[in-house]
């Protein structure tokens, strides 16, 4: 579980206000501050580079178009995460209808399983241990893929992004209690799948 603190609020406020006045450079600076975490969230939720790219574009374009409506009632980070989370949720819902396995990444050698691509970047001294770790990782991925879209999103935001359930509820326009129930269901399903 890793929580990533948002950048200083004061810096955000000045940039947001400038961007709201039409300052392109200020908006680009906001993109620079947040885009890596937005892309990381989209990649880890969608497990597809192309879908994550699409979600990134859609989220920031939506943020750009609606920036004038941002009233500082929550942090910019929460507002932006709300946008990208809902876009990812839509992707997952569409995917659950299509039942597609999209954990595929385009590489110079052609399409490859995203999990294998990621694993290649790590150095492991013990091949057997590496194999077991891969196997476990794959089982976790399979189990996560079988969660409902909302359970998947809540679990990702809590377990891997370290957000509070209150914030997750806000992002998904639901209550903290509902987010809590969703997380509970997700962990129970994962427990059963990995038993």
């Amino acid at each position: 579980m890793n929580s990533r603190p948002a950048p200083a609020l004061g810096q955000d406020v000045a940039l947001i206000q400038a961007a709201q006045q039409g300052d392109h450079d200020a908006f680009e600076e906001l993109v620079r501050i947040y885009d890596q975490s937005v892309l990381r969230l989209a990649l880890n939720l969608l497990r597809s580079e192309q879908d994550a790219r699409d979600a990134y574009q859609e989220a920031f374009l939506k943020a750009y178009r609606n920036l004038a409506a941002f009233r500082f009632e929550c942090s910019f980070h929460t507002w932006l995460y709300r946008i990208v989370t809902n876009i990812c949720l839509d992707h997952l819902r569409r995917r659950s209808v299509r039942k597609e396995d999209s954990a595929v990444m385009e590489t110079a050698d052609g399409p490859r399983d995203l999990f294998d691509v990621v694993q290649d970047t790590r150095t492991e001294a013990d091949p057997e241990r590496d194999l077991l770790r891969r196997e476990l990782g794959r089982r976790i991925e399979d189990a996560l893929a079988r969660l409902g879209p909302r359970e998947r999103v809540v679990f990702e935001l809590k377990h891997f992004q370290g957000l509070r359930l209150r914030v997750i509820g806000e992002m998904l326009s639901t209550s903290e209690e509902t987010a809590k129930n969703c997380l509970y269901r997700a962990t129970q399903k994962l427990r059963a799948a990995l038993a």
Partner: protein
């Protein structure tokens, strides 16, 4: 607190979702209860195990590419917006320039635009209660069209001296007229796309269907045309829709559009399509569309070639 209550709180303790007092109760209990301490360790191990999923870290190259594409899209959209909407001039001048600058095919749409702005403008002066004079008004830009599914409300943001927001249900005539204006006449394809996305929810109404048909036949942006086509799918057996689909199949320069059109046309085995299908089967460059037409012709016991 009983062991059962403590156990039900262990996950929330480890997820740091308990308040200070609840945390202390769990910690005090676990210190003296071996069963709950063991449960705590099992749960900790389980959550740690779930963390073994490999997290994907976006490469700097991927981040840079995405950022580059994004900024390019934004600059392109802004340029289009500036080109399509004159700023700093009176409403009358702006509309005159719009009118003179548009092709003949857009003029009926511009008439709608006048109607919409007149309708809306009046409403906004009344509702806003500000000392605005419609004669001094300036229309600069429609910056966003959104639907809040939870509330069933449409929100349109546009610039008039400063950004304004109009909220209301899709059935509200002011909202409807603004949406129809945006779908038919507004320069920014993103706005047209968002607008069509909203309008297609109301496609059972003839006026909205006409707007979707207009976009399908005339919009210069393939994404907007595709959205309009999606909105018309369930009406694909209507004569006007079929005529538009035939026009798409035979004249749209986007193969994706032609694929969608042929699939919809084929839902009804209509003998009057034979000539159209034969023409497309001979000239079509897209394999799927060509093969789909050939198959449909065979299913209708018609020759694949025209004689």
């Amino acid at each position: 607190m009983s062991c059962d209550e403590i156990k039900s709180n262990i996950s929330w303790y480890l997820y740091n979702e308990l308040d200070e007092m609840e945390r202390r109760v769990v910690e005090d209990h676990v210190e003296t209860c071996q069963g709950c301490a063991a449960e705590m360790e099992r749960e900790r191990a389980f959550l740690a195990r779930l963390g073994k999923r490999s997290e994907i870290e976006p490469s700097p190259g991927l981040v840079a590419e995405c950022r580059h594409d994004l900024m390019r899209s934004i600059y392109r959209a802004d340029r289009l917006r500036r080109q399509s909407a004159p700023t700093g001039i009176g409403l009358g001048d702006a509309l005159q320039r719009l009118w003179l600058g548009m092709g003949a095919w857009r003029r009926p749409a511009a008439a709608l635009c006048l109607l919409a702005i007149g309708f809306f403008g009046g409403g906004w002066v009344r509702n806003g209660g500000r000392n605005s004079n419609p004669g001094d008004a300036t229309i600069a830009n429609i910056s966003g069209v959104n639907l809040d599914p939870a509330l069933g409300q449409v929100q349109i943001s546009f610039d008039e001296m400063r950004n304004q927001t109009l909220k209301g249900r899709l059935q509200d005539p002011r909202i409807r007229n603004m949406l129809i204006y945006a779908a038919r006449s507004y320069g920014n394809p993103d706005v047209r796309m968002d607008t069509i996305e909203i309008l297609k929810q109301q496609a059972e109404e003839q006026e909205i269907r006409d707007t979707l048909l207009y976009a399908l036949e005339n919009d210069g942006n393939a994404g907007v045309r595709l959205k309009a086509l999606e909105g018309l799918k369930q009406y694909s057996k209507e004569a006007a829709v079929r005529r538009a689909l035939i026009q798409v199949l035979t004249g749209d320069n986007n193969p994706g559009m032609r694929v969608q059109a042929v699939d919809l046309l084929m839902l009804a085995q209509d003998q009057s399509l034979v000539g159209v299908l034969q023409g497309v089967a001979q000239k079509e460059s897209n394999n799927y569309v060509r093969m789909r037409c050939q198959r449909a012709l065979r299913e209708m016991n018609a020759s694949v070639e025209s004689f």
